[in-house]
């Protein structure tokens, strides 16, 4: 299933996403409530400041000689005190919100990571890693930033708006009514403009993403482009993508940047109305000048956060769509669960049976048709066939990365669907062409093969794999760090490390996808020896490229277009002069 398609298919469910986000925040409910109370305190304190200031000025206004300085000092000190306290409270709110948001980000990342392991392997075959990774890095960050800034801001906004409105009402009812007239217009305008700009902004990010994708692709293929003189053509393609991205930016922002000035105008119009009406009220003695001044001060405090509304909503919406992307990943269908009553098997015998298995990755094209074979304890089974004959698919099925559409797989005679997936996988050790190492020490990378292996066992495994000597020539021996892609050791050594890992895991069945001699001669020889040693005493299923392996195999199955066409030993198959014979001869062509 493609992630990107899933998102498109899903209707935008703002309410559901919001609810779920709220649930994610549930461990912090008490703290958020505390933040609310603190915000209230901070707001009251910040409203007290101007009050004390006003009292101080009132005292000063008495004019020279009449000023009682002790009173001025008292009000000034109170003013200072309330401001400092207000800022301290404000700062602590900020710090708390930083903490909550980062903690939430931590939890979301963790959840995504754990989800990774519960997903079927097919998800990773169908989706680019980049898409999943951008959810974990970028989207989580967007959500966290929004939590950090928006929650406290929403609370402060509500309190400030209510507080100022209350003060305004107290000062003058008619003036408050005038202010209220512009409010619905502002709100309506905000909703209206959001409706227009939101799709434009998502188009903007979409086009930007397309451009990034194109750039990444073309620069990665630069050598090819230069070799074939494709530069101009590619530049032309980029011009049209660049144009689309620039235009999408323009279309969104050219509307987006009108919001600020328009809000400002609403504000100023409201001020004009207030000033005019206030003056008229003053003329007819319904209000004093002092009332007028402080009313206007409060109406500014009232209007400020409402103007901010547009910005907050913007952030909220982008946070919601980021959250939606995260949740859609978390909601992906997980790997098939073990059947009820599935059994645990410890170290099995190593008898593998595949019976009448058919399989397809996508409905249009069946990859395997009625494949049957068995590999008995301690024996070596080689699978040969042309590219695309379905050899790798068999491994996928044995490991239960995928499930057959038809037919059954048996482990020691037990239907594999009756076995817990974990314990089935433990029966196999894989040495694949694509060696997988992670950043860590050489020791860690080998020890990965078995939980709780001792140092001696790790060294023993390295010795068996024939890489112990090489490791001891390294500066830090087993504690040498391997870089992310294993760039600092050769391909052959990487392979030996994974063989050591397989030795350590001690599984009864071995799956070998033989490398196609991509290594230098001396290592090549050692890899081969190590593999032969590894196969001893284990059931081995080998996707074979080397004649030596094939010849010594107890049984060879020859695959073509997803079917088993021949079975037998090397000599019996050669005698047959069939598909195997042709394949074998072609090496000496």
């Amino acid at each position: 299933m493609k992630l990107s398609k899933m998102i498109q298919k899903r209707p935008k469910d703002t309410k559901g996403t919001l609810k779920r986000l709220w649930r994610t925040l549930s461990p912090f409910w008490n703290i958020i409530i505390a933040v609310g109370l603190l915000s209230l305190l901070s707001c009251v304190l910040s409203l007290l400041g101007p009050y004390f200031c006003g009292e101080a000025i009132n005292e000063v206004e008495k004019g020279a000689g009449a000023i009682d300085f002790s009173l001025v000092w008292k009000w000034a000190l109170l003013m200072l005190f309330s401001y400092i306290l207000s800022e301290a409270v404000y700062l602590s709110i900020n710090l708390i919100m930083v903490k909550i948001s980062k903690k939430t980000a931590y939890m979301l990342r963790k959840e995504c990571f754990d989800k990774l392991h519960r997903l079927p392997v097919s998800v990773f075959d169908d989706n680019s890693a980049g898409d999943i990774l951008s959810r974990v890095s970028y989207d989580v960050d967007v959500v966290a930033t929004s939590i950090q800034a928006d929650i406290s801001q929403i609370i402060t906004t509500v309190i400030t708006v209510l507080g100022s409105f209350f003060m305004m009402l107290k000062i003058s009812l008619p003036l408050s009514v005038v202010t209220m007239v512009t409010l619905p217009i502002t709100v309506f305008y905000t909703i209206h403009i959001k409706g227009i700009t939101r799709p434009l902004y998502s188009k903007r990010s979409e086009k930007y993403g397309e451009m990034n994708g194109f750039v990444e692709e073309m620069f990665s293929g630069e050598k090819t482009i230069q070799a074939y003189g494709y530069e101009e053509n590619v530049s032309r393609q980029f011009a049209s993508i660049n144009k689309e991205a620039s235009d999408a930016y323009f279309n969104a922002d050219v509307r987006g940047v009108t919001i600020g000035p328009t809000m400002g105008m609403m504000n100023n119009l409201s001020l004009a109305l207030n000033g005019t009406l206030g003056s008229i009220l003053y003329m007819f003695s319904y209000a004093t000048l002092g009332q007028l001044s402080s009313f206007i001060l409060y109406s500014r405090k009232f209007a400020g956060p409402i103007n901010e509304l547009a910005n907050i909503m913007n952030e909220l919406f982008s946070a919601l769509s980021a959250a939606e992307r995260i949740f859609s990943f978390l909601d992906m269908e997980e790997e098939r669960k073990d059947k009820e009553g599935a059994i645990e098997i410890e170290k099995g015998e190593g008898n593998i049976g595949v019976r009448d298995v058919s399989f397809s990755y996508s409905p249009e094209k069946e990859i395997l048709h009625n494949v049957s074979f068995s590999a008995e304890k301690g024996k070596t089974l080689a699978i040969v066939g042309e590219t695309g004959a379905g050899k790798t698919t068999i491994i996928n099925l044995l490991m239960r990365f995928y499930y057959p559409d038809k037919g059954k797989i048996f482990i020691d005679g037990i239907d594999s669907t009756d076995i817990k997936v974990h314990s089935q996988r433990r029966q196999f050790a894989m040495v694949l062409q694509d060696t997988w190492l992670f950043r860590g020490t050489v020791y860690d990378n080998i020890a990965y093969g078995r939980e709780g292996a001792t140092r001696e066992e790790v060294v023993e495994a390295a010795k068996k794999a024939g890489i112990h000597y090489f490791i001891s020539t390294l500066d830090k021996g087993y504690d040498t760090e391997i870089s992310e892609d294993g760039g600092n050791i050769s391909k052959g050594q990487k392979q030996l490390l994974t063989i050591a890992r397989a030795f350590l895991s001690n599984s009864p069945v071995l799956i070998l996808d033989e490398a196609t001699s991509n290594v230098d001669t001396s290592t090549e020889k050692r890899v081969q020896e190590a593999m032969t040693a590894l196969m001893k005493g284990r059931t081995a299923i080998v996707i074979a490229h080397r004649l030596s392996t094939i010849e010594n195999a107890d049984e060879i199955i020859v695959m073509s277009n997803g079917s088993v066409v021949e079975k037998g030993t090397h000599s019996s198959l050669l005698e047959k002069k069939g598909a195997y014979y042709k394949l074998y001869r072609s090496q000496f062509s």
């Binding site: 000023i67 300085f69 009000w75 400092i84 930007y208 990665s220 003189g229 620039s246 992310e484």
Partner: protein
């Protein structure tokens, strides 16, 4: 360029007017309340109210116009910048690309250009507004009362210094966060690429713990950065409020000395606030600027890089150039800052002949191809193609000689047909013939849309063997005089591999074929085989000759072919 600056200048003037009007409105309001209302003239009140309404509408008009013009010029400029940068990058020499690295080139075109874009837009608006608030506020307050203005004069630089200091401190904290994020992403990436191994070994819990560790580290450094960056705002507001208290206290003192009117204190308070807003905005502006500046530097770095791979005129002729179609004469080369990649390589390849190059990883095989196609210039020695030193060709002209498959070559997110033709003037018949010869037509024709089938990004939907066959089709179509296959059949089974080679030999009789491989079977039928080790030729000749004279070669052969003898 001049027109652009003029356009931006006009935008800034408009923004200036808009901001000025914005500042005028509260002033008019004060005037109404303080001076007009006491006159008790309804007419005057209405007139001044009307003035305010007009101002409000004008203010919107100017600000909106300026903002929109800023967006427009930002778009036009960024479009050109990106296009120039892209075209520059796509022609960069391999040496420069190695030097700058691919991820960096990509981020220069994407996130760096985005940083420049946002700065371009905001510098025309924010960049005008902040100074006006600051300077305007200063001028007005100084003209009102020099004594009180001194408080501002002392505090504003102090605040600016503290804010800038903290912000500077914050930037390295954010790069620390970035590093931790890299760790988180890396482990995640490792788990995605190694999902089969993780699952096979049942390592979910171990991995989970490993991730949790990195995740926790990231949380910690994020909180640290978040805490630090919460400070500037608080400090500014705190100072501002302390300033207010100072203004009131000192003001009271001066009023009592009759050196000041009480009304000035009130006016002062609002200008004080204005100046502080200016400081905050300026701080934001500077942060943006330093980010954009770093980005612009990187972009400039790319734009300024010059290619050393220029056409060299009047190169003296050499007899040796006539010896064959492709001639390497004692060529040595090392990549920037590394040990010698190849030493003293000489060979002659004639038309219609096959050259095989074999050797282990890092033996210098691909380097020979890189030099032959002039992705790099050799440190020593000369290379000739068709009788001419390759440096005397125009690059595109030189490369027209080649049909090439590189190691791990690239499949574009485009149709199969475009992937084979890749911009060259090639007929459909020719393309199909090439695909047939590359043994690719069988799988391509299985698609309902055949050659119009869309390849996934990086050709990820193809199997390794399908990819290689498609790439070989690309190299064969166009019937280039030199066909280069660099490790392009490693995923093919022996049968397909040998069929492809047979087809090339019979269909491209006049082409020189260069096969680079680690598999003996791929080169054993070549007219000449070079056996490379550590950048040197340690054996050369036909297969049978090498089997006799070169123990290393024989060893590879025996390892790869097993003990099986005919």
């Amino acid at each position: 360029m001049k027109k652009t600056w003029l356009f931006i200048l006009i935008t800034m003037v408009i923004k200036f007017i808009g901001t000025f009007l914005e500042l005028l409105i509260p002033y008019v309001l004060e005037y109404i309340i303080d001076s007009v209302a006491p006159q008790k003239s309804l007419k005057m009140v209405l007139i001044w109210g009307g003035v305010m309404v007009i101002l409000a509408v004008l203010c919107r008009f100017f600000n909106k116009t300026a903002n929109q013009r800023a967006v427009k010029s930002a778009r036009d400029n960024i479009y050109r910048l990106r296009q120039d940068l892209f075209e520059k990058t796509i022609y960069l020499s391999s040496e420069t690309i190695d030097h700058i690295t691919l991820p960096s080139l990509i981020s220069r075109l994407t996130s760096d250009s985005y940083n420049v874009l946002s700065f371009m837009q905001s510098s025309q608006t924010l960049g005008v507004r902040a100074p006006i608030l600051l300077i305007g506020g200063f001028i007005v307050s100084f003209s009102m009362d020099k004594g009180l203005a001194l408080i501002l004069a002392v505090m504003a630089p102090l605040i600016i210094a503290i804010v800038i200091f903290i912000s500077r401190k914050g930037i390295p904290l954010y790069s620390a966060v970035q590093k931790k994020l890299d760790d988180v992403v890396r482990i995640m990436r490792e788990n995605i690429s190694g999902i089969r191994v993780v699952k096979a070994l049942g390592k979910e819990n171990t991995e989970s713990a490993r991730f949790e560790n990195a995740d926790k580290e990231m949380e910690k450094s994020e909180i640290k950065a978040g805490f630090t960056m919460a400070l500037p705002m608080t400090i500014v507001k705190l100072f501002m409020n302390i300033g207010l208290v100072l203004v009131v206290s000192i003001g009271a003192y001066r009023v009592s000395k009759r050196t000041m009117k009480p009304g000035v204190i009130l006016a002062f308070l609002s200008y004080f606030q204005m100046i502080m807003m200016g400081v905050l905005t300026l701080n934001r502006f500077f942060l943006m600027m330093s980010k954009a500046n770093a980005s612009a530097e990187r972009i400039k770095d790319t734009m300024d890089s010059v290619s050393t791979l220029v056409k060299v005129e009047n190169i003296e002729e050499d007899e040796i150039s006539k010896k064959g179609y492709v001639v390497f004469d004692d060529v040595s080369f090392s990549y920037e800052g590394t040990t010698r990649a190849i030493s003293n390589i000489s060979f002659v390849l004639e038309r219609g002949k096959t050259l095989g190059i074999i050797g282990g990883t890092g033996s210098g095989k691909s380097t020979i191809i890189n030099l032959m196609m002039r992705f790099y210039d050799p440190d020593k020695g000369r290379i000739y193609i068709d009788g001419k030193d390759i440096r005397s060709y125009d690059l595109p002209e030189l490369r027209k000689h080649f049909g090439v498959v590189f190691q791990n070559d690239f499949i574009f997110h485009d149709t199969i047909s475009s992937n084979i033709k890749i911009g060259r003037d090639i007929s459909d018949e020719e393309m199909k013939k090439a695909a047939e010869n590359a043994m690719a037509s069988s799988f391509i024709e299985k698609y309902e849309d055949g050659y119009q089938h869309q390849a996934a990004i990086h050709g990820s939907a193809f199997s390794g063997g399908q990819k290689q066959r498609l790439l070989i089709s690309r190299a064969l179509s166009g019937s280039s005089p030199i066909i280069v296959l660099d490790d392009s059949s490693s995923a093919l089974d022996y049968h397909t591999d040998s069929m492809v080679r047979k087809n090339i030999l019979s269909y491209h009789k006049d082409s020189s074929l260069v096969i680079v491989a680690e598999r003996v079977s791929a080169v054993m039928n070549s007219d000449e085989i070079l056996f490379l080790h550590d950048g040197e030729i340690i054996g050369r000749g036909k297969h049978d000759y090498l089997m006799e004279t070169c123990p290393g070669y024989r060893e590879i052969y025996e390892t790869q072919m097993g003990e099986a003898k005919e």
